[in-house]
Symmetry: C2
Subunit: 681 residues, 2 copies
């Protein structure tokens, strides 16, 4: 038995006896308590804040008396004055043990804090980023014991942080000398160490304590949309999210058109590589500016994308992906220098991690969805559909996971839709059509009001009402069906057939008017027969892919469905099911996960172990190749209609009152119908 | 006991029993015999040539009978026809064991063959380069077992070569797909694995068997001269050597002037970095063109240089090196991508290795000299002087090695000399002055004839006689002293004092005429009083540095001296000693090592283990800082005179007949004399 005071940490419960005068930070480190520190106990960074508790703790068997910690000191006083310190907080490196004490480590002082995610179903992320900040004190040079600045930095990291095998690239060697001298031999370093790597790389250096933070960018690089989250690498918080159109669209709207472009124009991939890299640079600058962060403080990026985007981003000819056997140049994960990808907006030493691809048509985006939604840990059979220009579909449970991709085309992202646009302020994202009056009401991105709510005009004055985004067009088509404006084959009825003037003739078919602002010089937003066809093709492809996986598992239904997608608002499960995008399932078992691929990228950004995990997981995912599977075509053709609610799903039947109408003369399904041969994309 | 035939390899003596039908290459591999193969036994590369011996071998206890190897086969026949195969040679992968056999592995079939070096004293280099060529057969992609091309390449390397942890950068990922398909899934890879590295990097890829070779460039980057050797990485042979002026000279002739330039022109280092990188690119292109090698087959380069050149090459501000405590940004060795240094002429994935620096004034060039001359393995006390604009001086034996650098200025490289030039065809490199007639005879680079030999004019017609290089000026000054044209203070006598019209007045001093071609429109080559002063300053600095190290070891003499330097021809030990460049030593103990730093670079290029060795060795070399050592100044001033031969060195006395003359009025040593304050450089 020792007479040294007992120190108990909460919430971990770790405890130990420490000599009087031991700093709380030192005690925490010796016990392996997760207490943050950047400056290593120099009273500079204030990351090691702790909250002492006083009184009787029968549970712990101690009584903590006043004076159990050392007196509030000058360093703490200065901190409280200059930066503020919450009442009851102490600095762990300043407060020393004087008697038995119970010390709480608040979440913001934990390195490996948990970050709660928005999606209800999602597990929290445990922070363990590959890049972290440390402050060191470096020995001054001595001409009689000559050694380089870098070598003394390496020695300091070894002595003060027990970090060995530290490397630095030329940009760091250039900055090190002035930083050391300006910081009076005290510098902050951004250190990068992936989970499976023995070496630690210095990514950046600052004189003294760097207080500007370190940031990471999680990018979901889709065929149509590039979405990015800017994350604080210390807290895991998403500071800003933004998206832009993929400028490669001008070379082809879907993946196969882009591959065809390269086949027809050898070397055409070079230009596509350039524009997508430029776009990511622009996105980084934009997203950082939004929250006044210097983009050169973005030291890491994680990118997920489908295989064609993957190859085009890397500057690899994608033609092999357009023909059997759809061989990837590399399927493994990649850790690259940002400058290799010309990401000049980011930190000059920034690192980029690309998740592994699963197969030639199932990419790092599918891997990211798997990382986010974890089908391989599911007790019940889950179908995960990541809707995009190319849909990623996963089906499985903890015994087995299958994956495929399906060429839905860009309709679900608002492209190839007459009034379509990407999810941005002004885009219609929700829509309801009164089955009696056939009158629509809608909501646009940027306002919570419905179009018939008071104040709607004012609330949307700045953005205007500019078009329909992906989730909006899904709801529009489903609502049109439910309101009897569409027949099961997808044909829009005439004004006579439907009883509303909003169904207006356009050539040989009809269109449904949602919003007309032409009298104010605004747009006229309609859903045309062509739009319906595009959505039908897209949803048939999606449905066919899901069915194909179900065939493989020999099941007719799934226990639950997760709908994900990069486009702004979440997809309404009800409308998705009315439309027949997904196989029937109890409505309360259909959830919306938002941008699951983007979330997966964020997980890999915040937790380096997650990178290792997904690298193993993808090896166990069984790939189904839709392109060579005859049943895919069968399912695709069969899925063209917009179905009724069926008996096993009373929830759906209750909300649907589908009239049995048929607007066509002889089952004609429109100009091009479902018979148009689909190219992959 | 086995009944299997006995296979004995020579020269290694390794032996073992192998089943009938075992290929000799397989037997060699199993026994760890050093038998080369690029294609892994596919009968493609012909690297595994062996020579079977027949008859009685009492020493080995075997009798080898006809038929001990399988019959000469079609693959060998084709090789012999197409490429030629020496009489008695077989391909180790084709010839199989049929009976007891003695197999000789000729030097050219050994991976780790020894390369004999030119310098008499030098040890041979054992070939073990970091980069080697292998051929693999890669599995074709299967869409039902999807994996990337790179992953199947990695699997092939694991299976066929037992090489694991293989990485590839983006340039390789771009080339891999077409190479695999063009080579019908058989490719050659340039694999780079430093000695201390667990991962192997693919540097380049070719369809089928690459027969163009792999090359390395050893570079001695001096303040005045950049010298390069182009080496075959398989054989170690130096295919071409070339040198150019360092274009940084326009920013300052010596190191300190260049550092001063940066101090006066902040950012001026950027331009110096650019020009030296451009020059190395140009040199690579030139040297490769000389032997018709594609410069993109240069996959590795080793660079040695002094610390200021080192920092300027890397783009690091050198100002810290100009002031105490002379702190290096990094002293360790560096392995970089060639593209980080803008070496665009080399292979896009080429690697560059920089030897470690010893201290702020003693650079990687000194480390290279140590690697080449191995003072740390010497039984006797050796002084190694690497003459250049900044001289590197090493003194020691196997118990201790000291090092310093000395700012000699560029005179020894022909700069700051009125008729000086770099060592190139047309430069006077050897000179003799008849003590009786005071007439010179000389040799120029590019011809073995002396100027008074018949045919000299014809032999030098193409180059002309253009100036004097470093070794030439050293001999000229020493010869002038021995011929009585100089007094001990270094003053050139008048025509009257010396008895020759070749001593002609120029202003207040005299010059000695060596060659006059003005009547043919050629140059007039003289040695001026200023030239003598420049050489005196240079040699005093050199001598003072050597003495300083001797003081540290408390010795008055050394056992042997090695003279090295980058400038073309070797320095004549006799003339160096007459001049007083080096402390007195028995003349037969003074040897000339040529470009020892360049040789050190070549060793590091050809043997990756040498890199590890020198990294350890430099840690044990004790650095002496001349800049802050008052005795350096004392030695420097004392060494200004051009000495007599002294008693302990009869060899020198015998060859010297120095007249006791004094051409000055009162010991005046010329315009600026030895009192000019030397800046480091």
């Amino acid at each position: 038995m020792t007479n040294d005071p007992l120190v108990i940490f909460t919430p971990s419960g770790k405890r130990g006896h420490f000599a009087v005068g031991t700093p709380i930070l030192t005690a925490a480190r010796q016990l392996g308590v997760d207490l943050d520190s950047v400056c290593g106990g120099r009273g500079i960074c204030s990351k090691c804040q702790i909250a002492p508790s006083y009184g009787d703790f029968p549970k712990h068997g101690v009584t903590v008396r006043e004076g159990a910690l050392s007196e509030w000191n000058a360093v703490e006083d200065r901190y409280k004055r200059v930066r503020g310190l919450k009442e009851g907080r102490r600095l762990g490196c300043q407060a020393t043990v004087q008697g038995d004490i119970v010390v709480d480590v608040p979440p913001e002082s934990q390195v490996h804090r948990q970050v709660v995610r928005k999606a209800a179903s999602a597990r929290p992320i445990t922070m363990d980023p590959a890049t972290r900040l440390v402050l060191i004190e470096v020995q001054e040079p001595d001409m009689h014991e000559p050694s380089g600045d870098l070598e003394r930095v390496q020695a300091a990291l070894r002595d003060q942080w027990q970090i060995d095998n530290v490397t630095a690239g030329l940009p760091i060697l250039r900055k090190l000398q002035p930083a050391l001298r300006k910081g009076k031999w005290q510098i902050s370093l951004a250190l990068h160490q992936p989970a499976n790597c023995k070496t630690t790389q210095i990514l950046d250096v600052w004189p003294g304590l760097h207080e500007g933070g370190l940031y990471g960018m999680a990018i979901d690089l889709g065929s149509t949309t590039i979405a990015a989250h800017l994350c604080d690498l210390a807290t895991g918080a998403v500071l800003a999210s933004s998206g832009i159109m993929n400028p490669q669209i001008r070379f082809g709207e879907d993946l196969m058109s882009r591959v065809s472009y390269v086949m027809m124009n050898p070397g055409g991939d070079v230009e596509m590589t350039r524009v997508v890299r430029d776009a990511i640079n622009a996105l980084a600058i934009e997203i950082a500016a939004e929250v006044a962060v210097d983009p050169t403080l973005i030291v890491e990026s994680v990118i997920v994308c489908n295989p064609v985007m993957h190859h085009l981003l890397l500057g690899i000819d994608p033609v092999e992906l357009g023909q059997a056997p759809f061989a990837l140049a590399t399927s493994g994960s990649l850790t690259l220098d940002a400058r290799d990808l010309d990401f000049t907006a980011l930190n000059v030493s920034a690192r980029v991690y690309l998740l592994p691809c699963i197969a030639g048509h199932v990419g790092a985006d599918a891997a990211a969805v798997a990382l986010s939604e974890e089908p391989d840990k599911s007790d019940d059979l889950v179908l995960i559909v990541d809707v995009g220009t190319n849909a990623e579909i996963l089906l499985g449970d903890k015994t087995r996971v299958l994956a495929c991709s399906s060429p839905t085309g860009p309709a679900f992202e608002g492209a190839q839709i007459s009034a379509g646009q990407r999810a941005a302020p002004g885009a219609i994202e929700r829509i309801e059509i009164d089955p009696a009056t056939k009158t629509p009401r809608f909501r646009v991105i940027g306002s919570d009001l419905w179009s018939d709510d008071p104040g709607f005009a004012e609330a949307t004055a700045s953005s205007g009402i500019t078009g329909i985004c992906g989730s909006g067009i899904i709801e529009a088509v489903a609502e049109m069906r439910m309101a009897g404006l569409l027949d099961p084959s997808g044909l829009i009825g005439s004004a006579e057939q439907t009883g509303t003037d909003r169904c207006e003739p356009t050539g040989r078919t009809h269109a449904y008017l949602i919003h007309d602002a032409t009298d104010q010089g605004g747009p006229r937003i309609t859903v045309t027969q062509g739009d319906i066809r595009a959505i039908q093709l897209a949803k048939s492809a999606l449905y066919a892919g899901a069915r194909l996986l179900m065939d493989q598992l020999n099941v007719d239904k799934v226990d639950r469905v997760v709908l994900a997608g990069a486009f702004g608002a979440h997809i309404s499960p009800k409308h998705a099911m009315v439309l027949g995008m997904i196989p029937d399932a109890p409505l309360d078992k259909v959830s919306s996960a938002g941008n699951a691929a983007g979330h997966g990228a964020r997980i890999a950004l915040c937790n380096r172990g997650a990178r290792e995990r997904i690298e193993v997981t993808v090896g166990h995912i069984h790939k189904v190749e839709t392109a060579v599977e005859p049943r895919f075509q069968e399912h695709f053709v069969a899925a063209n209609a917009i179905p009724h609610a069926t008996a096993p799903f009373p929830e759906l039947a209750a909300i649907m009152t589908l009239p049995v109408v048929n607007f066509g003369a002889s089952g004609n399904t429109g100009e091009d119908g479902g018979r148009r041969r689909r190219r992959r994309g």
